[in-house]
């Protein structure tokens, strides 16, 4: 089959999201919630995949960037939500600007984290990014205008299927287009052999920082979508566990496989909800329901078993398009 033009697909996806949005009121709100969460998780996973999967830089602090985007964009709409008036187009404009600025501030934070972390690799980098995200959390916990430890509420719900999946389309398209461009092969070179890449005249520093900045931008965007969907955000929602969640999506999907990572994000969002349904069936034997209730145990066992048996991820080879990554 001939490869379709990615740009056409991008437009198609946005149009599809717009059409789906028209029917959103007839979707069961619970499924609607899951659908939006899937979208947000795809953006998070795909953007982290750029850092881990394509560039080989192990980051354990993605939730920190998400927090920056979530808090900044929420702060914008809470304080400037009606500066353009109270009409739908006006508030929507502010919302979109808030999302974009949330992403940009997160990207700036990414730069802040990326530059000093350049000298580190592997486990060290993982710990430093974890440290940075804890510091971000600590700053928020001490910031009174952001609700500090109480959390930030009263955020108006703006996020819907259209905006979420437009975000997904942008993230997927943007990152795929980037790594598949001639320019973008530098990312893969850094991942595959940093020293060789350096020797070939590739500016590895630039690529690493760029991966961090772009990854952080989309994480911030996802944070903004999240804040304007849940309407309440709390520092603990962006903790270490959230970062691990995103890392697992990347690992499960297969590092460097955008399609696989998307699929993993979908599965890892739906699976816990299915387990919820399992524990609701009264006729199931008690131990089964107990186990389903303890999803964290199940999750960690799955993680270990997966790593031991398929460390390349479940869908290691799956990818959009036929080009090798």
């Amino acid at each position: 089959m001939r490869r379709l033009n990615p740009k056409i697909l991008l437009i198609l996806a946005v149009v599809l999201a717009a059409v789906a949005n028209v029917f959103s009121s007839s979707i069961n709100p619970y499924y609607y919630d899951i659908l939006i969460t899937i979208g947000i998780n795809i953006i998070l996973a795909v953007s982290l995949n750029l850092v881990i999967g394509y560039t080989g830089q192990f980051s354990l602090g993605h939730a920190g960037f998400m927090a920056v985007g979530a808090y900044f964009s929420a702060w914008v709409t809470l304080n400037f939500g009606f500066v353009l008036g109270a009409t739908v187009p006006a508030t929507t404009t502010v919302y979109v600007l808030a999302l974009a600025s949330g992403g940009l501030v997160a990207a700036a934070t990414g730069l802040l984290v990326g530059v000093p972390s350049l000298r580190l690799r592997g486990d060290y980098l993982a710990i430093v990014t974890l440290g940075f995200s804890e510091i971000i959390k600590g700053v928020i916990q001490n910031a009174e205008p952001l609700g500090a430890q109480r959390g930030l509420g009263g955020i108006v719900q703006h996020t819907d299927i259209f905006w979420t999946f437009t975000g997904v389309a942008l993230a997927v398209y943007g990152i795929l287009a980037l790594v598949h461009s001639t320019y973008g092969s530098g990312f893969l070179a850094v991942r595959d052999d940093e020293i060789a890449a350096e020797a070939m005249g590739i500016n590895t520093t630039k690529y690493k920082v760029l991966a961090f900045v772009i990854g952080a931008f989309f994480a911030g965007l996802a944070g903004g979508l999240y804040a304007h969907f849940k309407q309440f955000i709390h520092p603990e929602g962006f903790n270490f566990l959230k970062s691990v969640d995103i890392v697992v999506m990347v690992i499960l999907g297969g590092m460097g496989s955008t399609a696989g990572v998307c699929l993993a994000a979908v599965i890892l969002t739906i699976l816990p909800e299915l387990l919820r349904a399992v524990s609701d069936y009264p006729w199931l034997p008690e131990p089964v329901r107990n186990l389903a209730d303890n999803r964290m145990i199940l999750y960690s066992v799955l993680l270990i078993v997966l790593m031991l048996n398929r460390p390349q991820g479940l869908f290691g080879k799956l990818n959009f398009g036929s080009r090798k990554s």
């Binding site: 000093p116 580190l120 710990i127 600590g138 145990i297 960690s300 066992v301 790593m307 460390p311």
Partner: protein, 308 residues
């Protein structure tokens, strides 16, 4: 002045705990070059091992608080943790030895999450009261010491610092003066050359995990003497702090881990006492980042060059 001195004493006792845990991180990193994320949870298991064995073992010595009984509880918790550590390595890390470190790190995070959520399931989420194996009390100083007599040093603090010192000395002897210790050092210097020289990699790794986990188990019991409330999530925070301590001292370097632990303990006590406790965790991480940026080999570690 007295308050400052008191804060130093407080920090020293807490730092000893970090030092004991940090040793496990640093030893494993020394030979395997990876961060054993589940190590903090082994410390938690040490506390629970003490919790479950104490009633039986203390019974041997009349049931009340006694030093002999406490020593026995300490040893039993250390042994249990050593076995757990070896098991974790065998089941979860050994099959992945040839894989990228990233894979092992993820597995370690999985093990950590499993121990925490499994701990909540088995032990219950509620904090448990650790039995009183030593009658902890403040040591009275003679009034003739002037203002120094207002200092408070507890038996628990003395025991923690003392036991840590003893354990560190034993460890030093093992590492420096036994064949196993020599093999361990050889491995951390150059794994390939060491195995060519006939070092049994599997055995040494098991031994490393056993020692590191035993130290964490000791820390679990020692901390519970001073702070007798234990819960399945207690290892998260202590583990992170101890890890920072290991990096600060120079990861892979055992005296460095001990030094780093003490420094982190002191830093924490001073930040909490004089600045603001909310900044304690961010500051500890800031220390970590600064160390990694400006002296990645840590205070006592030797710089290492990336080889092609």
């Amino acid at each position: 002045m007295i308050e400052f001195l008191q804060q130093l004493i407080n920090g020293l006792a807490q730092g000893s705990i970090y030092a004991l845990i940090a040793i496990g991180y640093t030893m494993v990193f020394g030979v395997l070059r990876f961060i054993n994320f589940a190590h903090g949870d082994v410390y938690m298991l040490g506390a629970f091992a003490g919790f479950y064995t104490a009633p039986k073992l203390m019974g041997l010595f009349g049931g009340g608080p006694s030093y002999a009984g406490a020593a026995l509880v300490l040893v039993s918790a250390m042994s249990i943790c050593a076995v757990i550590g070896v098991l974790i390595e065998r089941v979860c890390y050994r099959p992945l030895r040839q894989h990228p470190r990233l894979t092992v790190l993820i597995t370690a995070i999985g093990v950590s999450l499993l121990l925490e959520s499994g701990g909540q399931y088995v032990f219950g989420a509620d904090p448990q009261a650790f039995p009183e194996i030593i009658a902890d009390a403040a040591i009275e100083f003679p009034a003739s010491w002037g203002i120094f007599s207002t200092l408070t040093i507890t038996i628990g603090q003395v025991l923690v610092v003392g036991s840590t010192l003893v354990l560190l000395l034993v460890l030093r002897t093992v590492v420096l003066h036994t064949r196993t210790g020599m093999a361990m050092r050889a491995l951390s210097l150059n794994p390939m050359a060491a195995s060519l020289m006939g070092v049994n990699l599997d055995a040494i790794l098991s031994f490393t995990f056993a020692i590191g986990s035993a130290m964490a188990g000791a820390a679990g019991v020692l901390t519970s003497i001073q702070q007798p409330s234990i819960d399945p999530l207690m290892g998260i925070n202590a583990g992170l702090k101890a890890f920072v301590a290991a990096v600060l001292g120079g990861i892979g370097n055992i005296p460095g881990a001990a030094l780093g632990g003490l420094l982190i303990g002191l830093l924490e006590a001073l930040v909490v006492g004089y600045v603001n406790p909310t900044y304690r965790d961010p500051l500890v991480f800031a220390v970590l980042i600064l160390v990694l940026l400006f002296k990645p080999s840590g205070l006592l570690g030797k710089p290492e060059r990336e080889k092609v």
